[in-house]
Each structure stands twice: as C-alpha cells, then as structure tokens.
C-alpha cells in the first residue's frame, strides 16, 4: 500500500478554536499581530495554547478502537511534547484538510504511521526554526524536549507557547523530507495511554451521536418497509399526526441510494418516545411482492442444489485439481457453512441533521466513513458535497455497520422536510436488527487429495455466495489468494451465486471471520488425515520464508511472519495437540484447537482450550500470538483490542444466532432472537504475546478475531469427536 500523504492544505488552511478557517494570508497577519495569549495554529492537527498545552486534532472516527488516542500519540511523539501537555479534540470530517477519515479495515495505523508523525515533526521543525531565527543561531544546534526548544550551547530555552506565533510564520517543511525520530528515542509511542474519553464515559456526560442535543431539536422515529427493498404502497397518517407532540410524518423517498434501499416513513415529534409510540397509529401498506420469495430456508435449499454442480464462475485455478484428485491416495470432502449476521452495535443507528435556511446541511453523525456519507447524501438529495458540515461524534460501537451511511441519508431527507429544525433520527433495536448491512451467509464444498506421504496435492472449493453476473455482492467475495490456494500445485476455487434482497456489508474482519472458520477447520481435517496436526500442516505448506502476492495490490503475505506466530503460540500454549488441563469430571470432555489467519495485514495464531459438558461449550483459555509489525503503539489498547476481538470471535463461534428471513423479512426483533455474548461467555483467561518484526506497524481492530473461531471448532472436535461444520457451533 502506498502511504497517503497530507496535502499542503493541511498546513495552509488550519482551523482555529472557534471553528473559523484561516487562510494562509490571514494566519500571517495573525502571526504578525502583537503578542496575545491566543492559541496558535501550526497546522491542521496542532494548536499551541498559551499555557503550553497543545490541542491535537484526532481526525478519525472513534468507535472504541482507540484511534482518538493513537493518532495524537503519533503527532505528540514527533512534536516532542510530554503526554501531560496534550489535549485531544475530535476534528470534523474534512478529508481535503485532514486526509483519509475512515474507521475501517484496520487501516488507521498503516495509513497514518508516517503522515501523523510527519505532521508533528513538521510543526516541531517550524518551532525550532523560529527559535533559531530569534536567537540568531543555526537550527541544527537546537534540540527539543517536553514542549520546549533548547539551546544547550547558549544556555537558554523557550516554550513552544512563546515561539508558536513566530513559528506559524515559518514555511512548513517538505513533509517527505522532515526528519523523524529514531524509534529508540520514542517516549510516547510504545507507552500505554488510557482512553481520552473515559472520564466523560464514567460520569455520563454527552459524547455519543445519540446524546446530541440542539436548541429546537425534534426527534424522528422510523417505520421502515418490513422487507428490505420493498416500496411504500399506501399510508394513512391522519391518526398519527393527531397525536399530541407529533410534528410531521415524512415519507422517505425510494430510489437506489448508494447506501441501500430506503423506503420508509419518519414520524417526527417533540420527543422520540412520542414519535416512537405514534408509529402504532399509522396505517401503512407496503409493496413487497419482489421480496416475498426470499427466505433462509430458500437460500439453504438453493445452496444444497448448487453445491454438487459445477461452479458458475472460477475464482482461481492452478494445475489440474481433478486429475490430481483422481491420483490421490486419500480424498477428503466436507461441506461448511455460516449464516447471515447482524452487527448489533449497542448504540442503535442514529444521526442528527439540520437543513439550514441557505440550503446547507449540517450533521452530527456517528459514522465510520463520513466521506462516503457525504457522497451518499449528495447523490440522493442532489446537493453539493461541500454544502455539508459533518461533526463526528463518539460512536457506541461500529464493527463495520457504520461504514454504511443509511442513517445520514434518512436523517437528511427528514431534515430537508423540516428546514431550520435539527432532527435527531433514532432507530429502535428492531429497526436496527432488521435494517442492517448483514454479514452474508455462505456455503463451501471442499474436496482435497493427499498423496501417500500426506502432502496436499489437490484442493477444491465450491463457494455458494450471493451475487449475480459472475460477481459477488458487497462483503460476499472470496479472494483468489485465499490460503492455501497460492501454495498448492493443483487448485480449483469456484463460486456460484444466489440472489437476496438483503443488504450486505462488512462485519469486523469481513470475509475473514467466516473464511478463517471454514478454511482452517477443513485444514484441521486434512492435518488429521495426513497424520499430523494443524500447526505442523501449516508449517509444511507455508514452506520457507518468502512473500506471496495477494489479490490486493501492494499487499503481500509473508510466510515467515506466519510461521513465527504459529511457533510463538504453540510455544506459549505448550501445544502438544492435547489439552493442557487435567481431565475433567465424568460428564466433561476437554479439547484444544488451533487456528491461524492473516487479515488486515496482521498475522495471528491462536489456541483455544474448551470444556464440553452436557453439550455446552465453555472456553477455558485462549492463547494469542500476533505480529502487527515493529511497534505496538499503545500497548494497553492493543491488549484491549485483542481481547475484544477474540471474545467477539467466540460470540460468532458459539453465541450469535443466524439472522433468519421469512417471506423476505428479517424476523429478529431484539436481543432475544439475536443474543449477544454476555459475561458468562467470556473465556476463563486470555494470554497474549506480540511477535515483533521489522515491518511498519499495522492495525489491530480486526486481525485477532478470525483465528479463534476455527481454534474453538477444532477444540470441540478434539473434545467430542464431532466435527461441527456450520456456525454457530452447536452440539445439538
């Protein structure tokens, strides 16, 4: 991946405390004005305060992944201030000014590791240049420490606050050339920094999108078509509008919005509770004829029909898999599957929008991708992208749900109907579960051949997914470089497609969360057939340390890094292929399983110990070894992310129930039908080890999740002899 760079605009159009944007010229004029204890803006991310504290802009959406601390750490490190000086502020959405602002794909670290440090280093260079000019010395003789420029030879120093105004008039250095610290000199990167918003969270202060409160604000509750994609046929809203407190009932137009299919009604009232209750008074008819035919049962039947047939399209072919199978000493075949899943962020989808009198639109949006939201709203409402201001709130869970911006499009349409009034649109839990961008279900028929020495000589996968015309829909793809395809001589991976009316999308570690389960479970079957275990089969197939290309341009899979985490976790867990714990009670059985997965640039190998008693699975311990490069930027948060990802993997393995569809409609109403993992599902213990490597640091929101799922499935097999091949794992 090419590291993105900050634009010059980041430096010449920096914003001030009041939200006003100063041009470079205005900044110069400002800088030339007499000394005032005013904050001084050095670039888009850095504002030096009179008390020598520094306000650092955190530009990415915070969904709990810790980016609101991590990005400022990078800036503060190179600016060379102490962490106590740092005050963190969430920026608005403005990619021209700040660069990419997305919480997705575990990309914040790889995309910002250089640019954020460069932003800090550039501001530091300007402060040093200003001091050098003031003191008439060569900048190279000066150093910095904890927010001061030091002239050791001259025995003097000045705070950044004292230098800031002059520094703002210095020319910003070439970002690509600005010198960065030697990692050995890091004082902030690599040190644990706690969550910046925690004091507000534990005292209940407003932070989240749902907490937005504005003068004159009205509240919108949603009535969505019960089948995604259906359209509004008829509505009688007289009774609803007669409810005291109800202000309007706004039909939200249909049409193919980029964010999905939108037919809905919004009931707007002076309180959300009133709006929500008034929904019952609406009499609505929907046209769902085109959706009624879709059902969970229907998908399963169609998939079963397709599996034995030839794939509709080829994903990857090498050698001649059929010929190799014909000559194989052993042939193993197995069918795997996984269901549709909802994201169920604990903060339901919501968005506040205000349509100003001049046609400008302002948002307070808990979105993981404000840039796409801006585009979606522009396309749907026909307004200019620049006519929108998007404030980013803290977000009560993302997991990929909020990469889609349907709530922005919906709120914008309601706001447009009520100009001048801020409208807060809030889904209830049922709206949220029934109007998701679901993790798509999938089915795989694997066939593999082993030769007499136990080498895998042939590998086939027929993948039944959702899509049409040879192309899978969003988040339903299988990569042509899915392991072990690139390392085997005879491979055929193909796919066939089902249609669905459901909107699909990315769920934390998208594709990987499902594919890790099916591929690593099937490879566990192959390992057993080959008379070995999965870590050993992985080592054998990985071969010597080398880079394998992946489907994604610029992204390679390093077999040496994979081996290193496999070796690390097997050592950490004392892997012998058997449980380490003493045998349990009479009605209990114990098992240990392994899983490896490479996703989002991270290499993770995990081991799980389970106890099975009366068909119930308890996860006793999970061991994690991960390689995300040379640096763990914020160790405490890295631990939190890994724990959270592994436990979320356990939820997918054992707790989350399939999203069921009948007659085109999703049936889940609340957390009864779509249960989430509770405290009783947490593993007894989680052990974590980082394998440091010489590669630039990469992200951690996702890659620790996928391998735990096959590790648990494989452990259950060891404990019970039952190979569970569909999610959730159910001993029935």
């Amino acid at each position: 991946m090419n590291a993105p760079t900050l634009s010059r605009r980041s430096f010449i159009a920096a914003s001030l405390a009041g939200g006003a944007t100063l041009t470079f010229e205005a900044q110069l004029a400002f800088a030339a004005s007499p000394m005032l204890p005013e904050p001084v803006t050095l670039n888009a991310f850095i504002r030096v305060m009179a008390d020598n504290s520094v306000v650092i802009g955190a530009k990415n959406p915070e969904i709990g992944q810790g980016v609101k601390v991590m990005l400022p750490m990078l800036i503060a490190e190179e600016l060379d201030i102490s962490w106590e000086q740092v005050r963190i502020e969430q920026t608005d959405a403005d990619q021209a000014k700040y660069g990419p602002q997305v919480a997705g794909g575990s990309t914040a670290t790889p995309m910002n590791w250089l640019p954020m440090r460069q932003a800090g280093a550039a501001a530091r260079a300007m402060l040093v240049a200003a001091a050098a000019r003031q003191w008439g010395v060569d900048a190279a003789t000066l150093s910095t420490e904890a927010g001061r420029v030091l002239d050791k030879a001259g025995g003097r120093s000045a705070t950044y606050a004292a230098l800031a105004r002059a520094a703002a008039a210095e020319t910003a250095p070439d970002l690509a050339k600005v010198p960065l610290k030697d990692p050995a000199a890091f004082r902030i990167i690599g040190q644990s920094k706690k969550g910046v918003d925690v004091p507000k969270i534990v005292s209940g202060q407003p932070l989240f999108g749902i907490d937005t409160r504005l003068p004159g604000m009205v509240h919108a509750a949603l009535v969505k078509c019960p089948a995604i994609g259906g359209t509004l046929a008829k509505v009688d809203d007289a009774a609803a509008r007669a409810v005291p407190g109800v202000i309007a009932v706004v039909p939200i137009s249909s049409g193919q919005c980029p964010a999905g299919k939108m037919d809905a009604l919004a009931v707007v009232a002076n309180s959300w509770w009133t709006a929500h209750k008034a929904r019952e008074k609406l009499s609505v008819e929907w046209d769902t004829a085109a959706q009624d035919g879709f059902s969970t049962e229907g998908y399963a039947r169609a998939a079963a029909d397709l599996l034995p047939k030839a794939p509709a399209a080829t994903i990857f072919k090498a050698g001649d898999a059929d010929a190799a199978l014909a000559g194989a000493a052993k042939v193993i075949t197995a069918d795997y599957s996984y269901p549709f899943l909802a994201h169920a962020t604990l903060e339901p989808q919501n968005c506040t929008a205000l349509w100003h009198a001049d046609g400008k639109l302002e948002f307070w949006a808990p979105t993981q991708n404000p840039g796409n939201g801006r585009k979606d709203v522009a396309a749907m409402l026909g307004i200019a992208p620049e006519a929108m201001t998007i404030h980013m709130t803290r977000i009560g869970g993302g997991f990929g749900r909020r990469l889609m911006n349907d709530y922005m499009v919906l709120a914008a349409q309601v706001a447009k109907a009520l100009p001048g009034k801020p409208v807060k649109l809030l889904f209830d839990r049922t709206d949220d579960l029934r109007n998701d961008y679901y993790r798509p279900a999938g089915w795989h028929r694997f066939t593999a051949g082993l030769d007499a020495q136990g080498q895998v000589v042939a590998f086939k996968d027929h993948f039944i997914t959702f899509g049409a015309d040879g192309k899978a829909i969003r988040a339903a793809e299988l990569s042509s470089t899915e392991y072990p395809a690139p390392v085997l001589p005879n491979v055929h991976m193909g796919q066939s497609f089902l249609a669905t009316n459901l909107t699909t999308g990315w769920l934390r570690a998208p594709s990987s969360n499902a594919l890790a389960f099916v591929f690593q479970s099937f490879m566990d079957e192959l390992a057993e057939a080959a008379g070995t275990d999965l870590p050993e089969l992985m080592r054998r197939t990985l071969g010597p340390a080398r880079e394998l290309p992946t489907e994604r341009q610029g992204l390679v899979f390093h077999t040496g890094r994979a081996r290193a985490v496999i070796d690390a976790v097997t050592k950490l867990a004392g892997w012998t292929g058997k449980p380490s714990t003493t045998p349990g009670k009479a009605n209990e059985s114990k098992g240990r399983g392994f899983g490896f997965y490479f996703s989002h640039r991270g290499y993770f190998a995990e081991v799980a110990d389970v106890t099975v008693a009366d068909g119930a699975v308890k996860v006793d311990k999970v061991w994690i070894a991960g390689d995300i490069g040379s640096q763990i930027i914020n160790p405490i948060n890295a631990e939190h992310q890994s724990q959270g990802a592994a436990i979320e993997g356990l939820a997918q393995a054992l707790v989350l129930q399939p999203i069921v569809q009948e007659q085109g409609r999703v049936t889940a109403e609340n957390f009864g039908e779509f249960p989430l993992l509770r405290m009783d599902g947490k593993p007894g213990e989680i052990a974590l080890e980082w394998v440091k490597s010489d590669f630039p640091p990469t992200g951690l929101g996702e890659p620790a999740l996928p391998p735990v799922i096959p590790a648990v499935a494989n452990a259950i097999y060891r404990a019970t002899g039952k190979r569970l091949r569909s999610l959730p794992l159910n001993l029935g």
Binding site: A344, E347, R429, Q643, R678
Partner: protein, 154 residues
C-alpha cells in the same frame, strides 16, 4: 401529569405521561443522556439506574412507578461511596472500549457491591450478566469490580 421524582438527591417535577419510561424522562425531559438506550426491552442493561438501592432497567420502569423514589444515575453515581470506588476502578483499569454500555455496567456494579461488598465470581456473574458489552470488555469489568471490592490490587 406532574410526577415528583428524586434524581441524584435532587427533587424534580416531571411533566409526562405515566407510562413514559424513566429512561426517556431522564434523557429527554431532564437532559441527562448518561443513561443509555440499547434495546428498550430489558435485555441489555445499558439503561440501568439504581432505584431505592436496587438496579433496575429504566427502559422498563414507567415514570409513574418511580414517583417519590430515590433514583441514582451515572451522572450522580460518584456521590455514593461505593459508586465512587467503582468509578475509580473503572478509570484505573481503563475498562471502556466504545463506552456505550459502561454507564449501565457501572450502575449494576455499584448495586452489586452495595449489596455484596466482597462478591464471589458467581456473585459477579449474577449481578452483571444482564449487562451486555458488545465490545466484550468483560475481562476488565470483572477486574474493576474486584478492584473496587478490594479483592485485587492491579
């Protein structure tokens, strides 16, 4: 109707229909958005408040039922001696991830430790299993409760 309630030791008069859930009275009428909406069905615990010493789901508590009672919310939990310890442990251990469930977690933990100052693992599960954390911060929630109870130093 006018309903008198006491929130965080302050007497308030609320003008609302008697069946309006306490959750929405807090969030909308009293401008106290710390108590969170997660499910509206008593299934997630995000809306937990303490009512006369007992942890209740405010989404399932009609405001009429809260009339005349003492309500403690996340905004006022630190004023309780146990609540203060719980909040300190939460800060110390850096429990939250997204943070959305944490008001409810803290209220449940405070009620638990008020009733059971030295809880066993089963007591903790009993007091906390009704509170979902979608981000799965359970390891740290348990640790923070043990810390607040003086059962662990970390």
């Amino acid at each position: 109707m006018a309903i008198p309630i006491t929130v965080n030791r302050k007497k308030r008069m609320v003008e609302a229909e008697g069946d309006k859930p306490l959750l929405w009275v807090l969030r909308e009428d009293l401008d106290m958005p710390g108590t969170k909406f997660g499910c509206g069905a008593g299934l997630c615990g995000a809306c937990t408040v303490i009512l006369d010493g007992v942890a209740v789901r405010s989404c399932q508590t009609p405001i009429a039922d809260a009339a005349g009672k003492q309500i403690t919310t996340i905004e006022g939990v630190s004023a309780l001696p146990v609540g203060k310890k719980v909040v300190e442990a939460w800060l110390d251990i850096d429990v939250p991830q997204c943070g959305y469930c944490q008001a409810g977690q803290i209220m449940s933990a405070t009620a638990l430790l008020t009733q059971t100052p030295k809880p066993s693992a089963d007591d903790i599960l009993g007091g906390m299993n009704g509170n979902i954390c979608r981000c799965a911060t359970y390891v740290r929630i348990e640790k923070a409760i043990r810390k607040a109870a003086g059962l662990e130093q970390a």
